[in-house]
Symmetry: C2
Subunit: 239 residues, 2 copies
DNA sequence: CGGCACGTTGAAGGGCTTCAAGCTCTGTGG
DNA sequence: CCACAGAGCTTGAAGCCCTTCAACGTGCCG
C-alpha cells in the first residue's frame, strides 16, 4: 500500500476539478502518483515572485491569492483562488520564473504537480490542453474586465465590484438572509484588489455601514443588501 | 484551379504565424480551404461587441485594436494587434458573444476562420491547443501587467509605458536614429490605452516635446530619446 | 496585559478630470 | 484654388476625488 494512495474521496475531488473533468481514471492515477500534497498555512507562500517556475499547483482546499509586488511596498492582488482552481499554469507554460507570488490566505491543501508531468499529461490526453485553454481564456476575460474597471470607474464602484466578485466565489448565505464572505479580508486586501488605499476603503465601508448595506468587521464582511451593492457596482445609483 | 488558391507567399506568411509554426502543409491547406480573406479599411470593424462569436480571425496585414465600450462613450483599448496576431480566439472558446469590438486602425487583410474549423484543427493537430494556450497565457501576463500599472502608477508613467509598448510592436527606425511609430495614434487613442483623458495626454506630450524626448504630430509620434522614455516608464527619474 | 496589527478619522493638498474656448491641420467640394 | 467644415489638438481655469500623512482607537493573541 503506497503512502499517498489515491482515495475515493480525493478521486472525486480531482475529477470535479474543471481541468480534469471527464478524464479517464488512469489519468488521475498517474497525476496523483507523480504529485505531492502539501499543507500551507495562512501567511505562507505557494511560490514567490521571481522563483523558477517548475510546478503547477491545484488548490484542494483553502484560499490563495496572486500578488504582484511593486516598488515601495505597493502590492497588487491580481486574482483570488478557491478550491479546485489551478495556479501557476501560465508561468510554467510561458515564463521561466513566476511573475507574481501566490500567498495563502487561509490554511490550504495544495496538490503540487511537476511541470513535466503536466506537459506529459497534456500530450497524452488531447482534451486537456483545450480545457486549460478555456480556463485561461476565461481568466483573460476577467483580467480585461478589471482593466476596464480601473480605466473608467470610480473607486467606490470598483470596491463594490470586488466585493460582489468575492461574494460569488466565497459567499455563504447566513440564516438571517445576509451573505457572509468566507475569506479573511482586511481593508488593505480590498485596497490591493481595487487599486486604492486602505483609508479610502475604510471610509467607503463606514459609509455603507451607515446605510445598512454591509456589516464590516475586523477582516470580515457581511453583505446585508446585495441588490443595492450590485446597483452601485453597475453605477445605477448615486448614493 | 480554385479561386482562393494557397499561394507560396501566403503559405510562408501563415507558417510564420506563431500559432501555425511547424504545422504540416496539409494543415495549412485545410485551414486555407475553409477560410476566407477579407479586406477591411480603416474605421471598420472585424467584429463588434455583443455579436455572436462564430469565427476566429488572423491579421495578415494592418493594425487592429480591441476596444471595450462603456457607458457614456468611455471606451477602453484592451489590446493592439499587428500582422500575425490571432483575434477573437478567447471569445470563440469561452463566450458566446464577443465581449469587445475589434476596430481596424489601418487598412487590413484578415483571414476569417469559422470557429468549427479551428476546433477541428485543434483536435486533429495536438500541438495546436498547446500553442494557443501559450499565446493566450502570454496575453494574460500582459493583462496582469496592465492591471498593476493602472493600480499603482501615475498617468505619465502609464503613457510612457504605452508608447514603449507600441514602439516594440510597430516602431520603425528612422534614418536620423529616431524611432517612428507605424500606427495612427491620436491623443484620444493613447488616453484609451492608459485610462486617462485626451487633455492629460496632450499636456504630457507637450511637456515631453519641450524636453526634446518625443516629436508629437497629428496622429503620429516619433521617439527621439527612447532611453529617457524608458526611464520615465520605469519611474527611475523625476522630470 | 501589553504589543501589534488592524481600523478610524481628520486635515491638507495635489494630480487629474472636467468644462470651455479657441486654435490648427486636413480633406473636400464648389 | 480656396474656403469651409470638422476632426484633432492645445491651453486655461476650477475644483473634486482621492491620496498622503498623522494621530489615535480597538480588538486580538501570546
Amino acid at each position: 500500500m503506497r503512502l499517498n494512495m489515491l482515495t475515493d474521496a480525493t478521486r472525486v475531488l480531482l475529477s470535479r476539478i474543471n481541468l480534469f473533468e471527464g478524464l479517464p481514471p488512469e489519468a488521475l492515477d498517474s497525476l496523483w502518483a507523480g504529485s505531492k500534497v502539501r499543507q500551507i498555512n495562512q501567511g505562507g507562500f505557494v511560490f514567490q515572485q521571481g522563483e523558477a517556475a517548475q510546478c503547477v499547483y491545484i488548490l484542494l482546499s483553502g484560499r490563495v491569492r496572486l500578488v504582484q509586488h511593486s516598488a515601495y511596498g505597493k502590492d497588487v492582488t491580481l486574482a483570488t483562488f478557491v478550491e479546485g482552481d489551478l495556479i501557476g499554469l501560465v508561468a510554467a507554460l510561458s515564463e521561466e520564473i513566476y511573475p507574481a507570488s501566490a500567498e495563502v490566505l487561509s490554511d490550504s491543501e495544495i496538490l503540487i504537480t511537476p511541470h513535466e508531468l503536466m506537459w506529459a499529461l497534456m500530450r497524452q490526453y488531447s482534451e486537456l490542453p483545450l480545457r486549460a485553454l478555456m480556463i485561461i481564456a476565461s481568466r483573460l476575460h476577467e483580467a480585461h474586465e478589471r482593466i476596464r474597471e480601473l480605466s473608467v470607474e470610480r473607486v467606490q464602484q470598483r470596491i463594490a465590484r470586488a466585493i460582489v466578485r468575492l461574494a460569488q466565489k466565497t459567499g455563504v448565505k447566513q440564516p438571517d438572509g445576509s451573505l457572509k464572505l468566507d475569506i479573511r479580508l482586511s481593508r488593505q486586501d480590498l485596497a490591493q484588489m481595487t487599486g486604492t488605499t486602505l483609508e479610502t476603503v475604510s471610509r467607503t465601508l463606514t459609509a455603507w455601514e451607515k446605510s445598512e448595506m454591509v456589516e464590516a468587521g475586523r477582516e470580515s464582511l457581511i453583505i446585508l443588501n446585495p441588490h443595492h451593492l450590485m446597483l452601485i457596482a453597475e453605477d445605477l445609483i448615486e448614493p
